[in-house]
Symmetry: C2
Subunit: 202 residues, 2 copies
């Protein structure tokens, strides 16, 4: 595409590096910024710069935080005997939105993926082991809440192996038919797992 | 939604003001920036700041430009007797991509839209009239290439009224069945116009 200005071209190139944003969408966003007042663009870029410069990660759970200790780890109302292991901050937010979980979290920062060059050492797995061993047995249960993909299952398996010598209950979140889902449209693996993992009625 | 950090919340609020980007997409983009290196975010914000601070508009056609005179108006290879009136820079880019037009442009910066408080004075219509009258008759034809919407048609009508005393040819781009389009699926107005506007075969 021919751009009317070098500045537009550079901005489009940068914006289109964001996930899910192609050149056409990037151009639409950039032209929108040019049409609006300068202060709008500066408010946007300042908020992003401030975020990237000042963002901290909790020293316990590695979740994104405004402090070196996040509000969940700091809270006295959370059950400190359960730790839920997740891939990312967005998973923490999703579980928090359910209001069904009152334990702590551990954010790995990804899953083991040899294809993308991500091994166990790139993730916060050692830190999880340290958390378990330095805890004087306060942690009783670890919930593995990773995606049901090849990579997620590999990571769950790896963590379960590393944790097998600790006196811990290891669990994973239930797999089954989603609420509102129709049996006949469920795939065989999910349906099979939902039968194996059946629970008592009522 | 509860955000794990004020900084994330502010960034999400700013990003979700962009057109077509909701809170969920904004969160995904912001978390992506946090995951990547700081320099990526700074490259993005710098390119946007530079764009917004330094962008210029061509003094003749009001298209986005790196200079006070754009490359199209400056070029000796363009036909200076035809001016194509469009709504926005993206329309100029779309027409340029066809390689079918060698005249000049005039970017209005929008269309007349009383609902959004945009009257003729908010657009570059006076500047078009000045361009025509200060030109010693060099401009022979004006092509109105605005969207076939209520607002676009109103704007075309308004401009045609204002230009009626000048010795000019006024034209609009052809409306009809798109190439590859099926007759039976075309709406009646488009099909009707394509019959009225029929051209000689071959």
């Amino acid at each position: 595409m021919d751009y009317p200005s070098k500045l537009i071209e550079e901005a489009v190139n940068e914006v289109s590096k964001l996930p899910g944003i192609g050149k056409k969408t990037a151009l639409r966003l950039v032209l929108h910024l040019v049409k609006e007042s300068e202060s709008r663009t500066f408010a946007l870029t300042e908020s992003l710069n401030k975020l990237r410069s000042n963002i901290l990660f909790c020293k316990h759970c590695h979740n994104i935080s405004d402090d070196i200790e996040c509000s969940i780890c700091r809270s006295h109302r959370r059950d400190k005997s359960i730790v839920c292991v997740v891939e990312d901050t967005s998973d923490v937010m999703a579980i928090e939105n359910t209001s069904q979980y009152s334990g702590l979290y551990h954010v790995l920062g990804g899953v083991i993926s040899p294809m993308n060059g991500i091994g166990p050492s790139e993730l916060k797995i050692e830190s999880l082991l340290q958390r378990v061993s330095n805890n004087n047995g306060e942690i009783k249960e670890i919930i593995l809440a990773l995606s049901p993909t090849m990579e997620g299952d590999t990571t769950s398996f790896y963590i379960s192996k590393r944790l097998k010598d600790y006196p811990l209950k290891l669990s994973t979140i239930a797999r089954g038919i989603p609420i509102g889902g129709d049996l006949e449209y469920a795939d065989e693996i999910t349906l099979g797992r939902s039968i194996l993992g059946r629970t008592l009625f009522g």
